[in-house]
Amino acid sequence: MNWLDLSSSAFMAAFFLYCFGFMFYVVAFAGRKWSHGDPERFQRKWGKVAITVSSLGLAGHLVFFFARWIGQGHIPVSNMYEFMTFLGMAVMIAFVIISLIYRRLILGIITLPLVIIIISYASVFPQEVQPLIPALNSIWLKIHVTTAALGEAFLAVGFAAGLLHLLRTVNYSKGADDAKSKKERFWVETTLFMLLVACGFIISVFGFRMAGYEAEFKQEKVDVTQAGEAVTETNTVKYSMPPIVKPYNSTVVKAEEFLGANKPLFEAPSWMNGVNAGRKLNTVIWSLLTGAILYGLLRLLFRKQLGAVIHPMTTDIDPDDLDEISYRAIAIGFPIFTLGALIFAMIWAQIAWSRFWGWDPKEVWALITWLFYSAYLHLRLSRGWHGKRSSWLTVIGFVIIMFTLIGVNLVIAGLHSYAGV
């Protein structure tokens, strides 16, 4: 068995251990109610199992990382697959550190699913080992990417604690019908829904990949050159999901049947005329659809808002503790993020691209993330934004981080485009 095989086996092991770890966390907190004996003891016992299993998951993840490093000869953070798996690992590490400080098991209820989503998302991207391009061949690849990811991981744990704080403090009692409680419940629900949409994306990708679905379109794009001639450019666009929308101005070359339909329902609007814009829109629609189905099923199963399902598990945690954990995670993550995503990034950019700052979209979004969290810190320290308000900020902050990491590559690109598919 070579290093790369060991690495991918370890990855699978880590993935399943995380899933089991998550289930044990749920058992520890949800099962307390139906235990016959002492609920405290029950929770401690299953909490220990959950910690052990998820720590084993992290161990497997570390084996994956170092085995791949040895196997391919350079640090595995050079494409989207490698980066996202690393980010998942960093979130686990940050989670372990914060758990060691505060010993609040409940964090696992949000953090583990987050890690599972991140690494499953990673698996959507090609996993083959790719040799380094010259731009990445630098010691700063190791330093910049790992520090930036670790900083982001702490900020993500800050989000997990913030979301828990919201689930804990938002009023889920019967008869809480005031406008404020309704609004808060709506937004907590929306946040959970977005996480389900991320699951929906992953499920649709893997579902259709396993089914081997394929469709193909020929897209014609007419451009008028400066000399006034019309030039027609023809592109072939391949879909791996059944086309709900087809690319703008395109014809079907081949579309397998799905649920009796073999024709796209709509055409992408004309302003979405990029080669892959139609396919991306189609993927977004499938993710939303799958996410919505998932959400609907869960609602049918529990017959109440998902927030109301999680809320009872959190009730014996002091909300102030959650608020403090969230703030602390961000206070720890912010300097690391500054160092990794801005300062080390500037040093590397100065060496590789001859300028420390070039307003490249990725750079700008790292700056936006930084500005946002500095606003968070100022609001908290000087304006007294504690509790719910600060927790909502961590949710927004997490959305910004995810956009910086993924959205920029998928939507905007720029110089960091090699981190894409």
Binding site: I101, P131, I133, Q226, P335, M346, W353, R383, H386
Partner: protein, 554 residues
């Protein structure tokens, strides 16, 4: 607004003081009402400069920038502004700028046209964005000065014995009774606090344990670093501090760095690709670059310095293989591998003149593309160079023109003198590259002479061309050291502020009654366990959580 700032204890405080500088009692409106809410401990309740009564105009400007609320607004506006700048590529990303006004419209449609019209295509150079950065810089200076001085004063002259209302309104507090041996109790408390690295001061039946005060300066150190960084960024606008040039150097050539006394030679350019067996499936067959390298030599000119490297006297000063992550550095100049071009560039050819009638060949002669002689004597014939085109084309008016200075389609017009030719010579056009010869129909252009003469190259040995040209980016940026220093200071400040916590415990003894208040700027969890440990050592065991006086619940 009139505010009575004289405390009950008799101390006269400056306007704006929240907590009496002497005893810690809260001042102002709620002072009389004996509140039970938590105290506002920001800046230790000291008055800030911006809280002066009767502000003048300058004070008003100061007050504006001293507000954290304003600072947060500035941050948020900058954040939104910056995000707008990432919607479409910025103008600065084009090195060879296309026609910008139509570029955005043609590429992105109506939204691109609006984007360009609003000036968002150069967001980061726009006046409003620069103004925002300047305002943030001002806010950094003013906010910091406004707070750091009062805070410094407040922390420097702390009273040990605080009023009970001050202690019991801290977020962590305790009150209880102790045994008769008060001194022994305080000794044990002090010993434990010292074990936890607190500095302890005791005075008149009161105790102050404090640690990590320096962490309070963290944010201000960070701000100083950021101010220095922003000033360094502004300093980069000084033209003499900056240089950003691009050089295209064919292999073997030496070029002068414009505006300097330095010359760079591209001795050899290497590009290596990965072989297929190390590439994953989906990349097989693609040219994935492994390495670009320019073996560069930097020279300094000592005499006869002109644009022509051949006649200048050069002295080698630095030799370095430039790769993507490894620029050549010399005296503040940095040469970066930027790109390369592998279109072959014709350097020179060695053609012969053929007299088609007799079949006789004259020559060969060396015809340099960029630096040809004005005439060549070949046997009885003479070629006199009349005109040279680097990239030959036929203009709108039907006359020959050159499209660029790159030797992409070189052409030479000679006057051919010799026996059997007209008195003043007859024009002959010569395309050294076979493709151009056909494309521009050299034979037709030469009309009657075509049947009598030809110029051609015998074999590839007589063609000399350069395979690669390297593109180097030459930079000089004298502000860089200040940028790095600013960032380093900022990072030190962040670390100080984030990873250490300023903790204080005030203990007040009244007979057998003990009242304790504790304060930290973050991590109350740790603060409470420190206090609980000290209480336990002294003899009053408590659950850390019970010390919590309620948070800033909102």
């Amino acid at each position: 607004m009139f505010q009575n700032t004289k405390c009950k204890c008799g101390h006269q405080n400056p306007t704006g003081t929240v907590l009496c500088e002497a005893c810690g009692r809260s001042l102002g409106e709620e002072a009389e009402a004996d509140g039970t809410e938590l105290l506002e401990m920001r800046y230790d309740g000291a008055a800030r400069r911006s809280q002066k009564s009767n502000p003048s105009l300058l004070d008003r400007v100061w007050n504006f920038f001293s507000s954290v609320k304003v600072a947060v607004y500035l941050i948020i506006i900058t954040l939104i502004g910056a995000s707008l700048g990432t919607i479409y590529p910025q103008e600065s990303t084009f090195i060879d700028a296309p026609d910008l006004s139509s570029y955005y419209k043609d590429t992105y449609g109506i939204s691109g046209e609006i984007y360009y019209a609003l000036g968002l295509s150069h967001t980061f150079e726009s006046w409003w964005f620069v103004l925002l950065l300047v305002m943030i810089g001002t806010s950094l200076v003013v906010c910091s000065l406004d707070r750091v001085l009062p805070l410094y004063r407040a922390l420097n002259k702390q009273q040990i014995r605080k009023h009970e209302s001050f202690l019991l309104r801290q977020r962590a507090c305790y009150s209880g009774t102790i045994d008769a041996d008060a001194d022994g109790w305080v000794d044990r408390f002090e010993a434990q606090a010292k074990k936890q690295h607190y500095k302890v001061i005791r005075k008149d039946g009161a105790l102050l344990a404090e640690k990590n005060r320096f962490s309070r300066w963290g944010p201000y150190v960070n701000h100083i670093g950021l101010i220095l960084f922003l000033l360094a960024v502004l300093a980069r606008a000084v033209p003499a501090w900056q240089m950003d040039e691009y050089l295209t150097i064919p292999e073997g050539d030496t070029l002068r760095i414009e505006g300097t006394n330095y010359y760079v030679k591209n001795e050899d350019f290497t590009v290596e690709f990965y072989s297929d067996d190390v590439l994953p499936k989906e990349l097989k067959g693609t040219a994935r670059v492994k390495l670009y390298r320019t073996d560069a030599v930097m020279y300094e000119c000592t005499a006869n310095c002109t644009a022509d490297a051949k006649t200048s006297q050069l002295k080698e000063v630095k030799r370095h293989p430039i790769e993507v992550n490894s620029p050549l550095e010399y005296k503040g100049y940095k040469l970066y591998q930027f790109d390369f071009d592998n279109t072959p560039i014709l350097r020179d050819v060695k053609p012969v003149l053929v007299d088609k009638k007799t079949g006789k060949e004259y020559g060969p002669f060396k015809l340099s593309i960029s630096d040809p002689e004005t005439s060549y004597q070949l046997g009885p014939y003479q070629l006199e160079l009349r005109q040279r085109f680097m990239e030959f084309a036929i203009g709108d008016d039907g006359r020959p023109v050159t499209k660029s200075r790159e030797p992409k389609a070189p052409a030479f017009i000679f006057l051919l003198h010799g026996p059997g030719l007209a008195e003043g010579g007859e024009p002959f056009i010569y395309f050294p590259m076979q493709k151009d010869k056909a494309a521009f129909s050299q034979d037709k252009l030469n009309a009657a002479l075509t049947d009598r003469f030809d110029i051609n190259v015998k074999g590839m040995d007589n063609v000399n061309f350069v395979e690669f040209s390297t593109f180097l980016n030459v930079r000089k940026d004298l502000a860089m050291p200040y940028i790095w220093i600013g960032l380093a200071i900022s990072m030190i400040g962040l670390t100080m502020g984030a990873y250490w916590h300023h903790r204080r415990i005030w203990v007040r003894l009244d007979g057998t009654r003990v009242t304790i208040g504790a304060h930290t700027n973050k991590n109350w969890f740790g603060m409470r366990s420190d206090l609980a440990a000290a209480l336990k050592a002294a003899g009053n065991e408590v659950d850390p959580k019970s010390l919590d006086n309620g948070g800033n619940r909102t």
